[in-house]
Amino acid sequence: MTYIAKPRLRHPTLETNKVGYTRRDYEGKISTLCAGCGHDSISAAIIQACWELDIEPHRVAKLSGIGCSSKTPDYFLGASHGFNTVHGRMPSVLTGANLANRDLLYLGVSGDGDSASIGLGQFAHAMRRGVRMAYIVENNGVYGLTKGQFSATADQGSKSKKGAINSDSAVDLVGMALQLGATYVGRAFSGNKAQLVPLIKGAITHGGAAFIDVISPCVAFNNHPGSTKSYDYVREHNEAVSRIDFISSRSEITAEYAPGEVVDVRQHDGSLLRLRSLHRSYDPTNRHAAMIYMQEHQARGEVVTGLLYVDPLATDLHTALNTSEQPLNAMDATQLCPGAGVLEKLNASLR
């Protein structure tokens, strides 16, 4: 549990990063999710990304909504403050937290039910406001925690475990994020850590609203034939973009497969992941082109993964509000209170 400092005892051969932490220092509580849940792979990717970025764990604030996905912040970065808020409302809480202290790194974790159903409005407005954060949706197309109902990202015509066919069309969060003005937009598959880790690293270091939709199969309720968010389905329909290695100025990220190539990647669970990376001419700094590209492939039944769009010079809500460099939560009465003299003058003006 997070309140107890992790035992500092560590094997002398354990590798430490530049700030002196081992990978274990980025872990959290033991996960209580189902074995094989895609969400756990995402937690592992977050742990690796933060370790590789040499982030001090306590400088991260991790916030989430409600759902299996939203439980995951308890399972990584045990030394950072976490906040499991209410269903669908992580973005507003994170916005407020960010306004209070701009010096921390903000990680927002949510589910597809959390962000695309009950929380669609908050998702949209956080994106358009440009709140600086890495917003990760662990997207399984179902409500995991409430046991298998369709979420708003379930594809039209896909089948639930109980055999119901989804008649509603799906909300595409990536398309929305692009349209709403997010300045870093990516999609990944929880089963592809090689792609996910650099994407997360890019999101964390990004200067504005970064959004990553991670297809994350729910082994309990959405990993059956007929689902379009199952491991098999996603592996077969994945189309990856790969030009993400320029994002972080701190550590170069290299793609594991060359542009234009098709590769079969064997995952730690033994499964095979087929990836086709994007053509060299794909320009991830063109928002409009990204939207068209994504939609074209979607129409072909392909799931495009990778970094779809980035504005490398993005600014955030603090810039827009011209907020002081010094965090607002660190100011005291001498900085905030205009004082008795000013009040006297105000009184005089009100007579």
Binding site: H58, S92, A100, A124, A333, C337, G339, A340
Partner: protein, 627 residues
């Protein structure tokens, strides 16, 4: 016909059309009287803000200083043909009607028990101004000019006010003064002046200031150190956030860098606005939102989270008429229960009840301190009557160097020194645990905040005893809150009496006046003004010490009375509700009548037996209720 004769004690009502630019002229009228040293209390009465609909501005002039709504109109300035009949009906017998006589009206349109003063305002303005908007706007100033002659308001005072308003805009200044004199000249030459009601210079205003409660609450948030404000527009609370923005732009910009020491977000809805306040509070900034009833309804899930996860949150609730959209531009005190117990499960919240703008300022600043100290949501329960009307009140005061009470926040040094940190542990016996802010220490003091149950060390736990420990501690914290909130104000009667009255908030001015009227008619009453929930012990004692206690409030269901019964375990029969809920501010006349009727009519009611419930008389549907 007997004309009403009165100096410095009368009520004028302006009936206008929304959007005609009358608001500033009417305010000018009120301020001019104030500058002559005579207390006034104006009230805006307006429908949901649509151009062309009727709007009223009622000014009570009262040298004695009563600031409540009196009821009855002595002089009606009837500028809206749409509401003519109802406006005319409101005038007290012997009163006065002032109207635009450009177009003749049939005699049936008048009453013969009032003095009618016609002035061809449109004709005058059309003759002098060619521009349509000017004709419209200056008509208002022309009638203020005429009224100043009729009521003997000093023209220099008005001109001085113009001078302040149009400083640096000489052209505007000159044209306004011209319009004023246009009205004055006509009145002197053609009207029988002065009227029986008149203004005489006095010295009854003193150092008091004239300000609306919403601006005052916003200023309280500035002084109290709020740095994050998130809000969603809703009448009658929007001007709190707007005023906060204005004051921050003035007082909170770092002079060295030009950067803002505040962040204000107009959120997409009330859920997001309270969410941002929760996030900012969790992360150690002082944050608030301002809203009204429907907003509170949307916020309740988050309010429950803040209560259970113990996060400081300040909510300024400028109450309006409910339920649902109810009467959005009318006043009520009808969110008492919904705020006191907002959200599902066993919750209780701190409520503060300011009586006037000065207390809106004080309570807003106090709420920020209390929220931090108690780590819980705190509501400032004002209402439209205080929030949107300018009120004469004591000047704002701030003790130089007053620090902010940040409550129990454990620092990195304290954690380093090995201080035991259990986020939800009651180490001090007051029910208030210690908290840490995100980012404080590399290895110590972090915890997972959630709305789910946990143990004293913030570890997820559904064990019954852990849950009970937590919720009982929250009750203990609420008891502590009762000692920290603003205490009730007691006003004993001059003679011993078995009767008491409990009231709060915007009822205060009417209550003060009613107490004096009742004493004069031989019914002395001990009075207690509540300033907060939870109720301090003195409230229960006060009720115990009296045979019967009137509870005066502005809602249908006697919500404060229910709260008293529920929280203090009181025999309901001892609490006699006096309820006013037609959307207009309660009047002294109403309270006096309700109490008198009860006392005279109900010996049976007072000692033993359930007293009759007092409800306001029902008026014919469609008429403007004026009490």
């Amino acid at each position: 016909m007997q004309r009403i004769e009165s100096i410095n004690d009368f009520v004028v009502k302006f009936a206008n059309v929304n959007g005609s630019g009358s608001a500033s002229a009417n305010e000018l009228f009120a301020k001019a009287i104030l500058r002559m040293g005579v207390p006034v209390s104006p009230r805006n009465i307006f429908p949901s803000n649509i151009q062309g609909l009727p709007t009223w501005y009622e000014v009570r002039v009262c040298e004695q200083g009563w600031l409540g709504r009196r009821g009855g109109i002595d002089l009606m300035v009837a500028m809206n043909p749409q509401t003519w009949d109802a406006d005319l009906a409101e005038i007290e017998p012997g009163g006065y009607l002032f109207y635009d006589s450009t177009r003749p009206l049939p005699p049936s349109k008048f009453r013969d028990d009032i003095t009618v003063i016609g002035m061809p305002l449109t004709e005058i303005c059309n003759a002098v101004y060619s521009d349509a908007r000017q004709r419209q706007l200056f008509k208002n100033i022309v009638y203020v000019g005429a009224l100043s002659v009729l009521l003997e308001i000093e023209p220099e005072v008005i001109e001085k006010l113009f001078g302040e308003q149009y400083r640096g805009k000489e052209k505007l200044l000159a044209s306004n003064v011209q319009a004023l004199h246009l009205g004055r000249d006509f009145a002197r030459e053609h009207l029988r002046a002065p009227l029986g009601i008149r203004v005489r210079r006095a010295d009854k205003v003193g150092k008091r200031i004239f300000v609306d409660g919403n601006s005052a609450a916003a200023l309280g948030c500035v002084y109290g150190g709020a740095t994050v404000a998130a809000w969603y527009p809703i009448t009658p609370s929007s001007s709190v956030a707007e005023a906060f923005q204005k004051y921050c732009a003035k007082f909170r910009v770092d002079p060295a860098t030009g950067q803002n020491r505040y962040a204000i977000v107009q959120a997409e809805d009330e859920i997001a606005s309270i969410g941002m306040v929760v996030g900012a509070g969790w992360n150690g900034a002082r944050a608030f939102t301002a809203t009204s009833g429907p907003g509170v309804s949307l916020m309740t899930e988050f309010i429950g989270l803040a209560y259970f996860a113990e996060i400081p949150v300040t909510i300024i609730n400028v109450q309006r008429g409910g339920p649902s959209t109810g009467m959005p531009t009318r006043t009520q005190q009808a969110d008492i229960i919904s705020c006191a117990y907002a959200s599902h499960g066993d919750t209780k919240h701190v409520l503060l009840f300011p009586q006037d703008p000065r207390e809106c300022f004080d309570h807003a600043a106090a709420a920020l301190d209390l929220a931090d100290r108690l780590q819980t949501p705190v509501f400032v329960m004002t209402d439209l009557d205080i929030g949107m009307n300018q009120r004469l009140c004591d000047p704002f005061e701030w003790e130089e160097g007053r620090p902010y009470d940040r409550g129990k926040v454990m620092s990195a040094e304290e954690l380093e020194a090995g201080k035991d940190f259990g986020r939800y542990k009651d180490v001090d016996g007051d029910g208030i645990p210690w908290r840490t802010l995100p980012g404080t220490h590399p290895t110590k003091g972090s915890y997972f905040t959630r709305g789910t149950t946990r143990d004293a060390y913030a570890r997820y736990s559904e064990r019954g005893p852990d849950y009970v420990y937590n919720v009982e501690r929250l009750l203990r914290k609420f008891e502590t809150a009762a000692t920290l909130v603003p205490q009730p104000v007691l006003q004993p009667a001059t003679n011993r009496t078995p009767l008491g009255v409990i009231y709060f908030g915007s009822t205060t001015p009417a209550m003060q006046e009613a107490l004096e009227d009742l004493t004069a008619s031989g019914i002395p009453i001990d009075a207690m003004r509540l300033r907060a929930f939870p109720f301090p012990d003195s409230v229960a004692r006060f009720i115990e010490e009296h045979e019967a206690v009137f509870v005066v409030e502005q809602n249908r269901d006697a919500q404060l009375r229910s709260l008293l019964v529920n929280e203090l375990d009181i025999d309901p029969a001892r609490l006699i509700p006096v309820l006013h809920f037609d959307g207009t501010p309660i009047t002294a006349r109403f309270i006096t009548r309700a109490v008198t009727e009860h006392v005279r009519g109900g010996a049976r009611g007072l000692v033993g037996g359930r007293p009759p419930v007092v409800v306001p008389p029902i008026e014919a549907p469609g008429t403007e209720v004026a009490k």
